[in-house]
């Protein structure tokens, strides 16, 4: 093989590699829209926040709203329920973390950190989705008077904390903003 042919061969290889890379970039660029289309669309994202009116929520009453396709429990707890929740020692909890999106990720799961904040201790807003495998727990049921998930027998207390059963975590508290005393925004 002459020297000239060798150079030629080398150039072809460079071109081949560059073209191959170009092709790979093209395939990647085409693949992205086909993956991205599976993500929530604009109309679903627009519903990522909801506003609810809690003015009619008397102590002992609960309402359920739908947020991102999942139930949100908003409960105005009775003083007895709050007392019962406050009386639990952190050491007795299966999950000692508050799981409250409005607080630091390692905030302890005491009752104040589970509720809706200063002056609104009786109010609790949490996702009604069992942290085990996603069923909706029943209210005012179970061994601790809070919530009970019938699917696999997880018991939550009156502050929505897991006390018994297979669920690993407390019911999560979504991001909540009080627009006024009676109007809250979730998300």
């Amino acid at each position: 093989m002459s020297e000239e042919q060798q150079i030629d061969g080398g150039r072809r290889d460079m071109l081949l590699i560059a073209t191959g890379m170009m092709g790979a970039v093209g395939v990647g660029a085409v693949a992205w829209p086909f993956i991205d289309q599976m993500q929530p669309d604009a109309s679903a994202l627009a519903l990522a926040t909801i506003e609810i009116d809690i003015s009619s929520l008397e102590p002992g009453m609960e309402m359920t709203a739908k947020w991102r396709g999942k139930p949100v429990f908003v409960r105005n707890r009775t003083p007895e329920e709050v007392e019962a929740a406050k009386a639990v020692a952190l050491a007795d909890l299966k999950d000692p973390i508050a799981r409250n999106a409005n607080l630091a990720a390692d905030a302890p799961a005491d009752d104040a950190n589970r509720g809706a904040g200063e002056g609104r201790e009786s109010l609790i807003v949490q996702l009604g989705v069992c942290t085990h495998l996603g069923c909706v727990p029943l209210g005012q049921a179970g061994e601790f008077g809070g919530w009970f998930c019938p699917c696999h027998g997880s018991h939550y207390d009156t502050a929505g904390r897991i006390r018994k059963g297979p669920a690993p975590e407390n019911l999560p508290v979504p991001p909540v903003t009080f627009l006024s005393d009676t109007q809250i925004r979730i998300g």
Binding site: L15, L16, T19, G26, E51
Partner: protein, 280 residues
């Protein structure tokens, strides 16, 4: 062979254009739409936010009492340069039906950004009943649903000139096309309750009267509200409503075309090299 083909093509072009002209005489619209120099035309076309805001105002204050635009959600008005607060305030001007509530009743509430634009009539039948039997079409897709046939050979040239604004041109021409000077030939074809317009594609006259008049509304940006201006603005707004992703489309398109051209160039060089040593 190529020259033979060209000669054939030329003969056909001539034959067809002559006969095409003769045939078009009886068809509607009487006049072909006039062309507007739209900002969204061409490979780098983009919407003019100010124009869309003006068009929205025309729609809101003039058209919306009869025409719905029900596929457009308030949230998408961010495309027009409005802030979230402005969109919320605009949405709240409208009421939408929601429910059922805890008592099982449907209720009305102010619209929120995720809602779509409520229609002026409850349904198509109600719209017809209120408008002498003529249904005022929904604006959401009208700029893509209205086009006047271009005819041979124009439809061939359109590929190369990238002419894709038939809809807004039609709407603009229709809005500015009303005239009292009705040619004799059509005078006796104007039905009761319809209005002559030589740009209407469905016949010599349509059920919508000439709504626009100079200074009918006042623009927030101080642009003089002439009929011509309002017609252009509302047509641009309708184009946005029908094709909200136009800018994204053209921007992506430019990148794709450049990529493909470079890639094709490289493959061509590779191909030349591969075939350089063999006769083929």
């Amino acid at each position: 062979m190529i020259s033979k083909l060209k000669a054939l093509a030329a003969a056909i072009v001539m034959g067809l254009s002559v006969s095409g002209a003769a045939q078009a005489a009886g068809d509607y619209p009487i006049n072909k739409p006039r062309h507007v120099d739209w900002t969204f035309a061409g490979p780098f076309g983009h919407y003019d936010e100010q124009q869309l805001q003006r068009g929205l105002k025309v729609y809101k204050e003039v058209c919306s009492s009869c025409h719905a635009i029900s596929r457009v959600a308030f949230r998408t008005l961010a495309d027009l340069g409005y802030s979230e607060e402005q969109i919320k305030a605009l949405a709240a001007e409208y009421t939408v039906m929601d429910g059922p509530n805890a008592d099982g009743e449907m209720f009305e509430r102010p619209a929120i950004p995720s809602d779509r634009w409520p229609a002026p009539y409850a349904n198509k039948e109600a719209a017809q009943a209120a408008n002498n039997g003529a249904y005022p079409p929904d604006f959401s897709l009208l700029a893509k649903a209205r086009a006047v046939e271009r005819g041979f050979p124009w439809f061939v040239f359109d590929i190369f000139t990238m002419y894709a604004e038939l809809g807004p041109d039609y709407i603009y021409s229709l809005m500015t096309g009303y005239t009292d000077e009705i040619p004799e030939h059509y005078a006796d074809q104007i039905a009761e309750g319809t209005y002559f317009n030589p740009y209407f594609k469905g016949g010599p006259a349509l059920a919508m009267p000439n709504i626009l008049s100079d200074d009918l509304i006042s623009y927030d940006d101080g642009t003089p509200a002439t009929v011509d201006q309002m017609a252009q603005d509302v047509a641009a707004f309708m184009m946005w409503a029908a094709e909200p992703k136009l800018e994204e489309r053209k921007e992506t398109g430019f990148r794709v075309m450049v990529f493909l051209a470079v890639f094709a160039g490289m493959v061509y060089l590779l191909k030349r090299r591969v075939f350089a040593s063999v006769a083929h």
